[in-house]
Amino acid sequence: MSVATRFEGLDTRSRVVGGVGSVLLALTVLSFVLAPGLTGSLALAFAAFVAVSVLVDEEHTVGFLLFVTTTSTVVILAFITVYLLVNAVPVVREMGLYLLYGSDPFWDTSANVYSLVPMVWGTVVTTLIATLVAAPLGVAGAVFISEIAPDWAREIVKPAVEMLAGIPSIVYGFIGFTIINQFMQQELSLPTFGSLFVTGFVVGIMALPTVVSVAEDAIASVPDPMRDGAQALGATDWQTTTSVTLPAAFSGISAAVLLGVGRAVGETMAATVILGNVTKLPDPLVDVFGNTITLTSLIASQYGNASGLHFSALFAAGVFLFVTVMALSVGSQLIERRMRRTLGGDA
């Protein structure tokens, strides 16, 4: 059904309400973008229109308002995309591909040279370590909760995992900063304060609850008759889990891991606090105990004194992050969608 035919299908009243309301609201949003001074009066006009309209025809007005709220997520996402991109344009124009494969010096604010190579490397290494921590432990945790645990254990572990998800990232960062960093320096004679390894490990712990809860949903959505079939053939519980449940939930579990990776990529405060945030590559490159910077901690540690091209370079880092995480998010959604289709139903 095309937009035009849909519009034909609406009655006059919803056309009036929707039409006038949309125009007023669009004007309000537009004025906030272009001339914030006018926003107040336009918003007032919109509110007055809605108030009158509710009194005249509640049913249609509410329908229109609900539709407007639904578009809010799309609009916000669009605004984020546009503003990140627009602000990143100057540095891309200036530096070109040097942003992605620069060489030493990578990041020099006085000479206006910007390359994201150390940040991307830092993000990649911490994310890899975090995934190595979060993926196996998270999937094992999900298997425990949904397949193995007796009821009493499930009722302890499941809320505990959710509580783990609630611990703010700055608290993890604080613990990493005061305790783990000190431990690394004292017991392992690490010469610098902070390392990629500790950051990756802590970020992995932080991504763990995401992996557990999403993977658990995936495992729980495998229909019970599939399990019953395996058990009727005399398989043990563990055989059922490994040869029926986990393969059936495989795509859901990989979606969970992808989401966990997304969390790890975007984790900011732990990396900012734990890492030394030097804009150089570790030497040698494979030294996971070395110090560098991640895309997120670059923004958090340098936004304060940034202006001009430097400011724009931070937005380039933001775009890089945003695109990566968005790709992971969309990817995991497509996988989940496929899994739901193959398993049938929306159980």
């Binding site: 509580m163 392992l188 900011t268 933001g318 969309v330």
Partner: protein, 545 residues
């Protein structure tokens, strides 16, 4: 007696109650976990491996128990192979186990080749050979022999290495391309942790009598340890912060009960004040009632607490109407199609957008338009954007779980769609929506990155941001009443930012202050989570009952 016979027959049906194999392997599982636990204590230097317990160094004890576990599992495997112990092994150890063991042996071979034998280029060959041997033995020999020999000899080797002092308290290793130096104080516990887990897994497999049952027992031991580890992690993080932060947080609390003036007023036509006296509870908690750097002996975090409250209130006021509205539209009005797909994609996209990206967006879009200064209002909006997808997702779930019968019954009475939603669907879905909002608030209350960019300025505020200015009062000019002005366009602190600011300023003398702040933040956030989780459990039970 008939009771006894029935028990006996049941036992013979299932098998002997406990065989030698089960006793021996059960003991080895326990011993492995002991080594694991001591390894943990040793790693964190609570029980350094060079200290002595009962006359023996911890390292020797660890080495001894690992040797015992290794030798024991191999012996049990051989016993099972020769038929001395009864078990039900499969003809192979299984591909996954063999691969896993091969990996372990690959690492062992690599380390020995490169470090002990000092082979600079040929170590991959050694590693590959040992790896292949480890895999081959586990894969090709019958399960009871293959798995126990491959895994058991790894544990045995680890034990012997530690016991003989090859890797002892005095040992140190400086890996070439890494900037750390591994000493025995860390190396021995790491070996104990790893070998302990492998030992527990192998011994549990023996305990289950090999075969499908054995694999299940082995896997359950590992998965169970992992779950216990997560509980321990939560307990450790929370416990640690409570222990360190409790004293600074509660320092200087004073309270008392007084008899004093409660209220006083001047009655008309009387030239004196009437004073009503009564008991007054007096309570003073400096850490949460004072600012930083005032003339008080104890620095407090009141400005941060008030800032967080304002941020959360604003974010909820922004996100909840939008989020619930969107959820209602998606479940009650919209048909599945391109539009809902787009909304779903962007909702999930917003959910996974990194918090620092929200901060950048706020810095570029909101801050210049809202007074061109970091402000509470920008922070509220940005946190509202972050809360929005959470509210949409959870509200949608709970709206979906309202049975269609409710809607049908209402529609059958001739009630319109919106009336049905308003008076039937939304009330039924309310508990789920509220729970979702509480959990979401718990998440945004702990967010640092966005407010760092758009709200905060002073790292150690002494004064609370004065949002409501002037009170409700009567005035002399039209319209004779003045309402308080609400000024949200000012900077403010917030709890997570306060913690970040202390770290940034250098902990030094502020370390206790930082632990106290961390504890308050953790308490606020975890209380929100606990309330959210508990209410969800409560309503779910009520729904199922």
């Amino acid at each position: 007696m008939s009771l006894g016979t029935s028990v006996d027959s049941a036992e013979t049906l299932v098998g002997e109650t406990s065989t030698t194999r089960e006793y021996a392997s059960g003991g080895l599982v326990v011993l492995s976990f002991l080594a694991f636990a001591v390894g943990l204590l040793g790693l964190f230097q609570y029980l350094p491996v060079d200290t002595s317990v009962a006359g023996l160094p911890v390292a020797t004890l660890l080495g001894g128990s690992l040797t015992l576990v290794g030798a024991g599992t191999v012996a049990l495997g051989v016993g099972s192979y020769t038929g001395a112990l009864d078990s039900e092994p499969s003809h192979t150890g299984g591909l996954v186990s063999a691969g896993f063991l091969g990996l372990i042996w690959f690492v062992v071979g690599g380390l020995v080749g490169a470090q002990t034998l000092g082979l600079s280029t040929a170590w991959p060959v050694v590693a590959l050979l040992t790896g292949l041997a480890g895999t081959g033995v586990a894969l090709l020999a019958r399960e009871d022999l293959g798995v126990t020999v491959s895994a058991g000899s790894f544990v045995l080797l680890s034990g012997v290495v530690v016991l003989s002092g090859l890797v002892g308290p005095g040992w140190s290793w400086d890996p070439e391309s890494f900037s750390i130096v591994l000493t025995g104080l860390v190396g021995v516990p790491v070996i104990a942790l790893f070998a302990g887990l492998v030992g527990a897994w192998t011994a549990a497999r023996v305990y289950g009598g090999f075969g499908a049952q054995g694999r299940q027992t082995g896997a359950y031991v590992l998965v169970g340890t992992n779950a216990a580890g997560m509980l321990a992690l939560l307990a450790a993080v929370v416990g640690f912060i409570v222990v360190r932060g409790f004293a600074p947080m509660t320092e200087g609390i004073r309270y008392g009960l007084f008899w004093g003036p409660v209220t006083w007023f001047n009655p008309p036509l009387l030239d004196s004040w009437v004073i009503v006296e009564g008991p007054i509870v007096w309570f003073y908690w400096p850490f949460v009632m004072e600012g930083y750097g005032l003339n008080t002996p104890i620095d407090g975090i009141l400005p941060a607490i008030v800032g967080t409250v304002w941020l959360v209130v604003g974010a909820v006021a922004f996100a909840v109407p939008l989020g619930v509205g969107a959820a209602v539209f998606l479940t009650e009005y919209a048909e599945q199609g391109r539009f809902t797909f787009l909304v779903e994609i962007s909702t999930n996209g917003l959910w996974s957008t990194p918090s620092i990206v929200y901060g950048l967006f706020g810095l570029a879009f909101l801050v210049p338009r809202l007074g061109n200064t970091p402000s509470l209002l920008s922070g509220q909006l940005v946190l509202g954007f972050m809360l929005l997808p959470l509210v949409v997702i959870t509200s949608r779930e709970s709206l979906k779980s309202v049975p269609d019968e409710y809607r049908d019954a209402s529609a059958a009475l001739g009630v319109s769609r919106w009336e049905t939603i308003k008076s039937v669907v939304l009330p039924a879905a309310m508990p789920g929506v509220v729970t979702g909002v509480i959990l979401g608030v718990g998440r945004i209350a702990g967010e640092t990155a966005p407010i760092l960019l758009v709200t905060t300025s002073s790292p150690f505020p002494s004064e609370v941001t004065n949002v409501i200015q002037g009170g409700f009062r009567f005035t002399g000019s039209f319209p004779f009443v003045a309402v308080p002005t609400v000024d949200l366009v000012q900077t403010s602190s917030a709890l997570p930012y306060q913690l970040f600011a202390v770290i940034g300023a250098g902990l030094g003398e502020n370390l206790d202050f930082a632990w106290g702040t961390a504890l308050v933040l953790l308490l606020v956030v975890l209380c929100l989570y606990a309330v959210g989780i508990a209410s969800r459990l409560y309503f779910r039970r009520k729904l199922n009952a």
